[in-house]
């Protein structure tokens, strides 16, 4: 029990504050006026999960990080097996697995993120040489893209994007030259710009400009010829294939993408969530409508207000002030984790800390960005706020690991 005294209480304080705020909001989300309520008391369940999570935090911080490091590949392999089984048995779409005999549903994809972070940290920490070519990237890419691909097939776009955040963050921390980071994202940027050019939203041939810029960048940075050729080709193909790819999509699929850019196109359908979310946030004003007083929430205009759209509720009931405070708390937490990564005693701990920071950061940015229409609606929960046991548990496991790193930190 001695290790509790060595905990990073600043980080824990931030985590507890955010969790308490979250449960407060879940309680509020339960109080709705309409008859459509399912009768489930979400906040009580979330409290039960919080208790479980606290125990998990305590337990995981009891082990030396060496144990984590050594079992990381095993855990990683295990979650991959579970994800494959899910996909094969066709349960994948639901993303939920019931633990036999308990009646409790869990989401393996959440734990997969943590396992991937640890496995990647283990691999990167074990390398003797600095990563500076595409060849060196093959294994890290595989470690992340395999689980990311599996969840994308489930389909869970949001979680896949979070995997991308983790990959980039950790590669950056491991010392990959910035030019490579940029080149890795370039096909995605190419695709987006080609689409925008195709839809004619802007008159400029954006993709063409980007491609020229990319070529100049590759030329001046003098990377391996092979790598340069591969990236150039990848971008060229993306740019050329976007048009036939887009046209091969069914109309409703195209619409789904278009509605993301212009929610007003479909005010009763896909755009509804974004519009109602914006209305909830905007009508909150500076100080909010008051706790439990959100009308958008009360009358069930907010979709998924316990889970993915819990943040608009903060905006509606506590106004800009509530939003600013919670975002500040989140930022302080991330900042604190980055600081921990800096002072970590081992490369594994340092890389894993950054991975966890990226994982949380990805969730926060995508979730909050989604509520104001900045990001696509992907169904990604907000850490420590959103209702959902598996995710809360994952977050607390991560915090537990960070506590262990803190205890073992070097005295720099």
């Amino acid at each position: 029990m001695i290790w509790i005294r060595k905990y990073d209480w600043v980080m824990l304080g931030l985590v507890f504050l955010l969790t308490a705020f979250g449960i407060l909001m879940i309680y509020s989300a339960d109080q709705i006026q309409t008859t459509r309520a399912s009768g489930v008391i979400h906040y009580q369940r979330q409290l039960v999960w919080l208790a479980i999570s606290l125990v998990a935090l305590f337990l995981v911080s009891a082990f030396n990080s060496r144990v984590l490091e050594m079992t990381s590949y095993f855990c990683y392999g295990l979650t991959l097996v579970v994800l494959v089984v899910l996909l094969v048995t066709g349960k994948g779409v639901e993303r939920w697995v019931m633990i036999p005999g308990t009646g409790v549903n869990v989401q393996p994809a959440e734990f997969a993120k943590l396992a991937t972070i640890l496995a990647l940290a283990n691999y990167l920490a074990g390398r003797k040489k600095r990563i500076d070519s595409l060849k060196d990237l093959v294994i890290p890419l595989l470690i992340v893209l395999v689980p990311a691909g599996l969840v994308l097939l489930q389909p869970d776009l949001g979680t896949s994007i979070v995997f991308g955040f983790i990959l980039f963050g950790m590669l950056f921390w491991a010392g990959l030259p910035l030019i490579y980071l940029l080149l890795l994202v370039s096909p995605i940027v190419s695709f987006y710009l080609a689409l925008v050019t195709l839809l004619g939203q802007m008159r400029l041939p954006l993709w063409g400009l980007f491609f020229i810029f990319l070529c100049i960048l590759i030329f001046y940075n003098r990377i391996y010829l092979m790598d340069a050729a591969i990236f150039t080709l990848a971008n060229l193909l993306t740019g050329i294939l976007t048009s036939p790819l887009w046209n091969s999509l069914k109309l409703y699929q195209q619409n789904r993408i278009l509605v993301f850019f212009q929610p007003e196109r479909d005010p009763q359908g896909s755009g509804w969530q974004i519009i109602q979310s914006k209305v909830a946030i905007g009508s909150g004003g500076l100080l909010g409508k008051g706790y439990l007083e959100g009308t958008q929430k009360n009358l069930a205009f907010l979709p998924a207000q316990h889970t993915d759209f819990i943040f608009p509720l903060v905006g509606e009931e506590f106004g800009f002030l509530g939003v600013a405070v919670s975002l500040l708390l989140f930022f302080l937490l991330l900042n604190h984790i980055i600081e921990l990564a800096r002072v970590s005693g081992t490369s594994f701990a340092s890389l894993a800390s950054v991975g966890i920071a990226c994982f949380l950061f990805g969730h926060i940015i995508i979730n909050v960005g989604m509520t104001v229409g900045l990001m696509p609606i992907t169904g990604l929960p907000l850490p420590l706020f959103s209702y959902g046991g598996s995710f809360l548990l994952t977050c607390y496991l991560a915090v537990g690991i960070l506590q262990r790193f803190y205890i073992e930190r070097s005295s720099v």
């Binding site: 008859t35 946030i281 975002l327 900042n335 800096r342």
Partner: protein, 612 residues
């Protein structure tokens, strides 16, 4: 400590990365904060408005229509509750099941059910109206077995009820639900969906008075449009009932008139007080049931009414134009007097009638083929001698006849407060030239005109108004149905001077009462006061002639002028009986009224408030 790849970068390199990482995290956070600031601080007003609108539903409350009463306060048109069946929004499948269950009770066909389902699909946010105006039996069944019909709602509306049905069809008209295209027009901008709009008669004429002002209430709804009760922040505005209208109609007289007119197939009757212009009763045959029309009839039934050869929608009192026949002779007489051909001494013009008059190449027949012999003005009216009026017409001349016809105003629309009144016709030179061509007509046309045949025509109401001005020696009042100060309805006096009108009083009395009067059969036997009037036969090139009679009662101090037209009724004397019957009823009512007045003395006002 084993060699680790990160360590060879040195501490400062790691510090640099830390700073970079912080910055990379901070920037998106700042972007988010900026966006939230924009939404919550800069644009909060418009989003607040949106959020309010989100949960607010404006429910418009249609105003109750004003009541319509007769001159004694008896209700003629009122609003009664009508129940319609609605189904609350629910999933499509359960809606189908609910409809199936209801169909057994209501007898809806499968295709009707399917139509309703389609209607619901288009507006799945609002309740589906299944049927309107259900009868009490169904209502009772539904109330009793309410639990067996989930999602059902008995909605109470107001519907228009015409207490006397067909009897007042051509006076009150009827109402109908506002149409979609009317909803869009500026005239009906204050109307709500489902509002009733007057379609004819008084209902249409005084639509703006009867309609009232709509109210509005605000309810709070959830995201699925469910009603959560009143929205407390906004006060409802109660609807204002339309103005009640008191008509000049006397319903007892109207009922009597309807009964009497019911003995003929096609025709019309109208009774008017010559001293005020008040219409006491007005009926036209055939008619329609305003109650059925107002509660929405099938399009088949509607088409049948609309295209019926006898035109039940035609209000013959104001829209039927007939050559007035002999009932027009008083006009010729007044004009003759005005021009000096008939002096105060009625013997001043005497004519010998041999059963007609040779004028140019044409022989103009008198109805009495044997002739009337030597005849003066008085007898000519009493016996309706055509020859006399031919002669008078020749003296007057076509030009003067037509000019005075126009100036008299008798052929113009009377201005009665009913929609779509038709004007009569009196020809002039232009008219003849246009219709017959130059040279194809001559001064001889005046002969026919002077006995009310040929090119002139009048509506029964215009004829009645002319007789009313005879009763009052030239004071004219606009015929009207809405109670009001008589002076408001005063019109310019007749073109003829009072003494030239007054010469008609005795002859018109003798038409009914004189030994040779053409309407002698309709004399009031055993009554204190006399009936006066004039018969007429309107030549009808399309079939049997129409029979006309205009009656005046009492002859010495007229209170009521009644005109009747019986289409294909042959001769005026037969239609005079209808007027006589009505006058007898009128006398009866006046007597009971006086007795009641006496009984309730001194509170004379109560006389009019007898309850049914």
């Amino acid at each position: 400590m084993p060699y680790r790849s990160l360590h060879d970068e040195g501490v400062s390199d790691r510090l640099l990365k830390t700073q970079l990482a912080r910055a990379l995290i901070l920037i998106p956070f700042l972007v988010l904060i900026t966006i939230f600031f924009r939404y919550q601080v800069l644009h909060t007003t418009e989003y607040s408005l949106h959020s309010e609108e989100n949960r607010l539903r404006r429910i418009e409350l249609p105003p109750p229509r004003g009541l319509i009463t007769d001159r004694n306060g008896r209700v003629l048109a009122e609003n009664i509750p009508a129940y319609s069946i609605e189904l609350y929004p629910q999933p499509l499948d359960s809606m189908r099941i609910a409809l199936e269950k209801l169909s057994e009770l209501l007898g809806l066909s499968v295709s009707q059910q399917e139509q309703l389902v389609q209607k619901y699909r288009q507006r799945s946010q609002s309740p589906l109206r299944v049927v309107t105006d259900i009868d009490e039996k169904i209502q009772a069944v539904l109330e009793e077995h309410r639990s067996e019909f989930p999602g059902i709602h008995l909605r109470s509306d107001m519907k228009r009820s015409y207490v006397y049905g067909e009897i007042l069809a051509h006076v009150l008209g009827y109402v109908g639900e506002i149409t979609d295209s009317e909803m869009e027009s500026a005239r009906y901008q204050d109307y709500t969906l489902g509002s009733l709009v007057g379609r004819s008669g008084i209902e249409a004429q005084y639509e703006n008075l009867l309609h009232g002002k709509r109210g509005v209430k605000f309810i709070e709804v959830d995201a699925s449009g469910r009603d959560l009760g009143p929205f407390l922040d906004r006060q409802p505005i109660l609807p204002e009932r339309g103005r009640d209208l008191q008509l000049t109609i006397d319903i007892r007289l109207q009922q009597a008139m309807y009964e009497i007119l019911d003995t003929v197939d096609i025709g019309s009757m109208v009774a008017m007080d010559p001293n005020t212009g008040e219409i006491l009763a007005l009926a036209s045959k055939p008619d329609f049931d305003p109650n059925r029309l107002s509660s929405g009839i099938s399009s088949d039934e509607w088409r049948q009414l609309l295209f019926h050869p006898n035109k039940p929608f035609l209000n013959r009192v104001i829209q039927g134009n007939y050559p007035p026949g002999s009932t027009f002779k008083p006009f010729t007489a007044m004009l003759g007097a005005e021009l000096g051909y008939i002096g105060p001494d009625v013997r001043s013009l005497e004519v010998v009638c041999h059963g007609g008059l040779q004028y140019g190449k044409r022989f103009f027949k008198c109805w009495q083929a044997g002739g009337h012999g030597k005849i003066g003005f008085h007898q000519a009216v009493e016996q309706s001698c055509d020859t006399f009026f031919y002669q008078l017409g020749i003296k007057i001349g076509l030009e003067a006849f037509c000019r005075y016809g126009k100036e008299s105003g008798y052929f113009e629309k009377t201005g009665i407060d009913l929609p779509n009144e038709e004007s009569g016709l009196v020809p002039d030179e232009n008219w003849f030239n246009r219709n017959y061509g130059r040279g194809n007509w001559g001064p001889g046309n005046v002969l026919n005109l002077s006995i009310g045949q040929g090119e002139i025509s009048l509506s029964p109401l215009q004829l009645t108004a002319m007789y009313a001005s005879i009763c009052t020696n030239g004071k004219r009042y606009r015929p009207h149905l809405l109670m009001g100060e008589p002076e408001r309805y005063r019109m310019p006096d007749a073109v003829f001077s009072p003494q030239n009108i007054a010469i008609l009083h005795v002859p018109l009395t003798d038409v009914v009462n004189g030994p040779l009067g053409t309407a002698r059969g309709s004399r009031l036997w055993g009554q204190e006061k006399q009936l006066a009037g004039k018969t007429g036969t309107s030549q009808n090139p399309h079939g049997e002639d129409h029979a006309l009679f205009v009656g005046i009662y009492p002859a010495d101090a007229p209170e009521i002028v009644i005109s009747v037209v019986v289409e294909h009724g042959l001769h005026g004397s037969s239609s005079a009986r209808l007027v006589r019957d009505l006058v007898l009823r009128y006398i009866e009512y006046r007597q009971t009224e006086q007795q009641e007045e006496l009984a309730l003395h001194p509170d004379l006002r109560s006389a009019g408030e007898i309850h049914r």
